[in-house]
Amino acid sequence: MAYSCYITFPTTYFAIRAESLLKKEAYSFKMVPVPRSISSSCGTALRCECKDLSALKEFLLQNELELEAYYKLEEIGLRVPNVEELHFDE
């Protein structure tokens, strides 16, 4: 089974700020519309490979970004995937 991970943001401002900072660092990620199976404050989310999630998250938090939540989704095309919300001990 293939999975992707998502980071969601409280506002569009932080989504675009994340994109702009990460681009400079050559991380691999994509800004995508938030899948309907996730509830998010902002319509744009960051999608990445799950192995990169924790590095991306650390980088963004170090840069004082406000992040909302983290998710792991099955990649199953148009069907509604299983969603797992990820929690990190801060």
Binding site: T12, S39, S40, T44, E64
Partner: protein
């Protein structure tokens, strides 16, 4: 400095009204809104497709550019508004609570006087006006004794739109902070022309408009709100985020930005700011001081013309206000346009208390506000016109 006005328009359309709205704009400012509408115009924050993202990126870039201009570290503290008036209303009505006391200066614009007047008439706040001297400079001694236990806000007009007089911002901010009072600066007349380091001065809120010194389109402007200040919102509505809730999002900047933003206008504003960055704001300031000196010195020698505001051009923005003995200011403005093609502003300039201080109420003054693109030959032509008009009185 160049003779852009003469080149862009013609001899019969000389623009001396930059304090009302700047003209000409850099070529890039005219082009950017069109390109934005044609190529990218998705609704920012709303739909998630690539055009939406393009527009989100544009807004982010404009926010960064504005933050850079005022030396603000966190661009999320820049809120886009319709203009300075909108920003001032959001700041004033968002921070004041029943029972608060407000200080403001006599050179304030109606965009400050009227919101305050309404709150005062409705019995919500009490207001004291810091008087200014004959040159338009706020009375610092008065201010030093004007703070009360319930004073919540000091509003400062960075530069008078009647005389151009620049307020002693740093000193006034220091005094306010000494009393634990927040400061709101109206930078409508100075943003883009005079460097403002909001964080090092310690400005708490700063309102600006896009269509004057920032050289952008009308319908653009903004408010800087420092971290730690929480403004109650005037408007709630769509943001594209948290759509399932009937509570407007709390995060800045969306918190104070309900409804679709003027993204095409902001594309133009970005080009205005880029022009200022590329030219260098200190170069712009030096040029404008030189233009103002040239204009002031040429008019000063015309017999029967009374000038208002400081003689030293370093102490004011790029404008000159005057009256002609025994002549109606409106009529002078009319002749300047109809006989000479010179456009300027006459009357009360939306700042009635300032005119009372200068004894030019209710007749007002003639205000000439050249800009960065005004050439010396434009001024020579104008001065000649004034000499001829004077000879008619």
């Amino acid at each position: 400095m160049n003779d852009q006005c003469l080149k862009n328009g013609n001899n019969l359309n000389l623009y001396f009204d930059n304090a009302a709205t700047s003209w000409p704009k850099p070529e890039t400012v005219y082009k950017a809104p069109e390109a934005q509408m044609r190529q990218a115009c998705g609704n920012p924050g709303r739909s998630g497709h690539t055009r939406t993202l393009e527009t989100d990126r544009l807004l982010y870039t404009v926010r960064e550019a504005v933050a850079g201009l005022f030396n603000v570290k966190n661009p999320a503290r820049i809120v886009f508004t319709l203009n300075a008036t909108d920003a001032l209303n959001i700041a004033i009505k968002g921070i004041l609570k029943p029972g608060d006391h407000v200080l403001h200066t006599a050179i304030d614009h109606n965009s400050v006087l009227r919101p305050l007047g309404k709150l005062r008439r409705n019995g919500i706040v009490s207001v004291d006006t810091v008087p200014c001297d004959l040159e338009g400079c706020p009375d610092i001694d008065f201010l030093s004794t004007a703070f009360r236990a319930n004073t919540c806000l000091l509003i400062i007009n960075h530069a008078s739109n009647v005389t151009g007089t620049i307020a002693p911002l740093e000193e006034m901010v220091r005094m306010a902070h000494g009393h634990g009072v927040n400061v709101l600066v109206d930078a409508a007349q100075t943003a883009g022309s005079i460097a403002i380091d909001a964080e090092s001065i310690g400005i708490d809120m700063l309102a600006f408009t896009g269509h004057k010194g920032l050289l952008g389109p009308t319908g653009t402007g903004g408010l800087y709100v420092r971290e730690g200040i929480y403004l109650d919102s005037l408007r709630e509505g769509g943001t594209g985020s948290q759509s399932e809730m009937d509570i407007h999002p709390e995060s800045m900047p969306e918190r104070l930005e309900a409804g679709t933003l003027n993204s095409s206008g902001l594309a133009g504003l970005l080009e205005g700011i880029r022009f200022i960055e590329n030219t260098g704001i200190t170069n712009i300031r030096e040029d404008e001081i030189e233009i103002r000196k040239y204009l002031y010195n040429a008019i000063k020698d015309i017999d029967g013309i009374k000038l208002y505001g400081p003689e030293e051009s370093e102490k004011c923005s790029c404008l000159v206000s005057f009256t002609i003995d025994n002549a109606d200011s409106g009529e002078v403005g009319y002749i300047l346009e109809s006989s000479y093609g010179i456009l300027c502003r006459t009357g009360l300039h939306c700042a009635p208390l300032a005119h009372k201080a200068f004894n030019t109420f209710p007749a007002g003054t003639v205000r000439l506000s050249p800009g960065f693109f005004t050439g010396k030959t434009d001024i020579d032509y104008l001065v000649n016109a004034l000499q001829e008009i004077k000879s008619l009185t």
